[in-house]
Symmetry: C2
Subunit: 121 residues, 2 copies
């Protein structure tokens, strides 16, 4: 099983998911059926695959981009949440929302496509 | 890492992901911070976790639901694609799109929330 998100800018999105979130680029390919391009990413902790789908102008899938609510968020476990927030902020992705219970804390940043990314410890 | 989708009906969505797609329910809990409820699912092939997020009326997260394009699709590998399509159709989820290359074939169904689900062999 894997999760495929649609992206507005493939290079910027690859940069975000590899540099800010520590994922590994596993491949990149043009897709004839969509006239677009796709990139595969693997999570740092293994197991999870994320596919970035880009549709250029002229592709029948290149509808107006609305991040929407289908994808509520993608969540990444981090070792040190304060350090993760600081590093994301330095990379240009400041926290936009924080939630807390007595035991847990979730901090959200927004990816280049408008998708919410949860950081949790 | 995990993927969290927002759902319009938690019971119907759990039914879809467990019965039609073979995922396992790993837990279900009320979340004070959102006034909502969350369910955890694990993929048949292990590794991948999917979180279903439900926000009731009155939750500040219960905005009007648009599946949107952030989540392009969730993809599930199946053993026998013709059988998988037949079973999904019998469960009330007929194929809505099919794509083919010489080597590959992808068939899409739509989950109870309007999210595209890819079946591939």
């Amino acid at each position: 099983m894997y999760t495929g998100i649609r992206v507005k800018d493939l290079d910027r999105s690859i940069d975000f998911y590899t540099r800010v979130l520590g994922m590994k680029l596993t491949g990149r390919a043009k897709i004839q059926a969509t006239k677009g391009e796709v990139a595969g990413l693997a999570s740092e902790d293994g197991g999870h695959e994320l596919e970035l789908n880009f549709y250029p102008k002229g592709s029948r899938f290149a509808t107006r981009y609305l991040a929407g609510h289908g994808l509520d968020h993608l969540a990444f476990r981090v070792e040190d949440i304060d350090r993760a927030i600081r590093e994301a902020e330095e990379a240009g992705y400041p926290p936009v929302l924080e939630m807390k219970t007595e035991k847990s804390r979730w901090v959200y940043i927004v990816d280049p496509n408008g998708i919410y990314i949860e950081l949790f410890a």
